[in-house]
Amino acid sequence: MYDLIIIGAGPAGITAAVYAARKKMDLLVVSKDIGGQAAWSGDIDNYIGYQFITGPELAAKFEEHLRKYAITLKENEEVIELKKTGDIVSVKTNKGAYESKTVIIASGKKSRELDVSGEKEFKNRGLTYCATCDAPLFAGKDVAVIGAGNSALDATIQLLKIARRIFIINIAPQLTGDAIMQEQIEDSKIVTVLNNTQVIAILGDRFVTGVKIRKEGKEEIVFCQGIFVEIGMVTNITFGKDIEKNDFGEIKVNSRNETNIPGIFAAGDVTDVPEKQIIIAAGEGAKVALSAFRYLVQHKFG
């Protein structure tokens, strides 16, 4: 049995692991990947100590720091069940089962999906969730950006110099991203904004050929070869049904990163902590490990 199992190896999980290792806790890290969303980020200018660093570089630094300690790391492993029985938390994954005295959930967030027909089928066949990665492949093509917040506007701006025409498909009455980005988009002749518009389906044969939309009660088709889905994030948590969450599916934690279940802690973007930033997730990761350590010291295990 472990002292601690950390679920997730993004900024929060990795920082927690380093702190826990330094407290000589017997720990296991289980994660789908290393670096989390930080590894996906483009340029980072606000992680203290680095005036400029790219997401992949910072993620590599995090990993290097983690590997300095003899921490058991199970990569490519996903948690499917988390249960507390008596004093013991059992963690079931797609590859194994483990028991621990404490658990830290730091599984983060991922892109929200549209949940319409054709989405899964055409993923990477014209439909993408990563404008930073895939925008250059749509040079001279017509594309649709779905969403209206900062990430959608950021994707649009990246596409301005690349695509032939851009349709922004927005379910709300107006764009919500930063004014400075909206202005840049309004000035462009190649962008068409479709407000009050709902996506019904992704269309295509081998690759994407268009999006079926509903606008003012009428169904239409926007013909395009690329679709960029930028409709926000959802938490990576399908396990632990008894853990209290807010309306956004974020785990509720107190200032000590405790959840409603003693011995189960959480940190980073998966929690209801305000502001989702790499440096905040890392800070929360330090705090949560110390909280788990305190719990181990104070708690008598039967």
Binding site: S41, P56, A59, T132, C133, A135
Partner: protein, 72 residues
């Protein structure tokens, strides 16, 4: 490797190959359109990175598959 300069997973894939002393040729599909088409032909999809390891096509930075194909 077929990649774009901005894609974080492409950067990580390149890091991984370099760390393991693997010599590889990189095509920037954001500028080399012929190579972009070749990539779509080979992989049947448009996501980057795509690795062609002696005929074995690997889509994405799939460390396990890459290790296996390279015998690491």
């Amino acid at each position: 490797m077929y990649s774009t300069p901005t894609c974080p997973y492409c950067i990580r894939a390149k890091q991984f190959l370099t760390e393991n002393n693997i010599v590889f040729e990189n095509y920037d599909v954001s500028t080399e359109h012929q190579k972009a088409e070749e990539m779509v032909q080979k992989s049947g999809q448009m996501g980057v990175p795509v690795l062609d390891i002696e005929g074995e096509i690997i889509v994405g930075f799939d460390k396990e598959k890459i290790k296996q194909a390279l015998g690491l």
